[in-house]
Amino acid sequence: MKKLINEPEDVVDEMLDGMVAAHPDRLRRLDGQEVLVRADAPVDGKVGVVSGGGSGHEPTHAGYLGEGMLDGAAAGEVFTSPTGDQLNEMIEACDGGEGVLCVVKNYEGDVMNFDTAAEMADIEGVDVEQVVVNDDVAVEDSLYTSGRRGVAGTILVHKAAGAKAAQGADLQTVAETAEKVIDNVGTMGMALTSCVTPEKGEPTFDLGDDEIELGIGIHGEPGTERTETMSADEVTEHLTERVLDDLELDDGQEVVTMVNGMGGTPLMELFVVNRRLQELMDDEGLDVWDAWVGDYMTSLDMEGCSITVCAVDEELKELLAAPADTPAMTVQE
């Protein structure tokens, strides 16, 4: 498999430099770290909001660095959680005196490394709170699993918590805002193809020409189920039904929807999915306040998509509509 890279082991380092080169006035790289922060971090008197995880999900996380969203983003190797000391450097660099909220996508690797970092930061006297996003409804939350994964819904957490912090809320309140999104969001994804990691250079899993995977995550893990190919409408119906079953929303509930591309899917197809999704929302009596379509949380070059639904109230609407100025998301005043 061909990729536009140099050596696989350099790809994260070079990507980070390329990001800073694209946004020199917005982003700054911490010396010797695989960590980007907004250029003006730490923002004095503001709670820092940081995230991080394995690379390969671009524009997540560094694309969301900036006013109204994230202060720091740590980039591990491809699909590999950043190390605790990296995360600690990030946390310290983003503390403007009001403490730091770590937004963690639920996975033991990420959680363990963020835990380590929080312990280290605590020693340095930084207040740290952690929220764990676990929006993936494909995974049963049972004794048998390590909990539900954190996937595309994370971006909504970044947006809402980032806006709350920008408004001057304290650490506890920013964390509560993040939890509110987490409590109200569900996602389910599918893949037409596996991604190809730079290191392995071949598809992580094999999928026949007439097969698709349902319930995939964002790391090329095989999904929960393999089925025959379906039409875009059928895929949309399947994913949406699973998400709505999980959320159990009331008639007339206002929601934000997100059709997220996995990286290799043409935007054209995401809009075809969105068309059916909006019909379904209508049929279900849900009131779509905003509909997002695009590549928010990718899995390298995987073809496929995920559908996210998040119930919103007045507070969340205000926060999601609040100004943001980041490389990958801009919301005007």
Partner: protein, 213 residues
């Protein structure tokens, strides 16, 4: 047991052997991780242990326990993922068992137990969850009994522990994962061998090989 110099040499040789072995097995470990995970375990482990071997290569007059600790901290800051804190953090923390008396038959049992406890504590995985714990538990239990009850010499005990780990690895194949990325696959994880249990076995095999040298 041997003097500090010999112990240091042993730690360095072990780290080097493990690094070489994991480099050789990189692709295979990645293939295992592809089937039920995210295809990075080989890269993670070989990157980490290469860095660890380099880190301990020329620390001449460090305490043996400090060398072991350095293996752990290097893994923590070089591996990432789930295996970084599990391997690295547990080695780091267990290295304290060598602090007073250096590396002896007795302290090696303490180390093994402390290491297992830390892995289980950090990962919250009980045995049978299809993780490295499944290779580690039988290996540590066997090692402890061989030394403490059967009075076997360490080399022989380690040989038995490796056999036990191997059976643990086999055991991960037919069961459903409850922890780690593989758990997301639900029943589809059945039939696949756990990468972390496998790398645990390789590390133990290299410890044995180093001891035999």
């Amino acid at each position: 047991m041997a003097d500090a110099d010999t112990q240091r040499e042993a730690v360095r040789a072990a780290a080097e052997n493990v690094a070489d072995r994991l480099e050789d097995e990189k692709e295979y470990l990645t293939d295992l991780d592809s089937a039920i995970g995210d295809a990075d375990h080989g890269a993670n482990m070989s990157r980490g242990f290469r860095a660890a071997a380099d880190a301990v290569a020329d620390a001449d007059d460090a305490e043996p326990s400090d060398l072991v600790k350095q293996v752990g901290t290097t893994l923590i800051s070089e591996v990432g993922g789930a295996s970084g804190p599990l391997y690295g953090g547990s080695i780091m923390s267990a290295s304290q068992t060598f602090a007073e008396d250096g590396i002896t038959a007795e302290t090696s049992v303490d180390f093994a137990e402390a290491y297992l406890d830390k892995v289980k504590d950090r990962g919250d995985a009980r045995i049978g969850a299809k993780t490295m714990v499944d290779a580690l538990t039988p290996a540590v239990h066997t090692y402890k009994k061989s030394i403490e009850q059967d009075d076997l010499p360490p080399l022989e005990a380690l040989g038995k522990a490796v056999d036990a780990a191997e059976r643990g690895v086999e055991f991960t194949v037919p069961i459903r994962a409850e922890k780690g990325r593989a758990s997301y696959l639900g029943w589809r994880s059945v039939g696949h061998q756990d990468p972390g249990a496998t790398s645990t076995l390789y590390i133990m095999e290299e410890l044995l090989a180093t001891a035999e040298e």
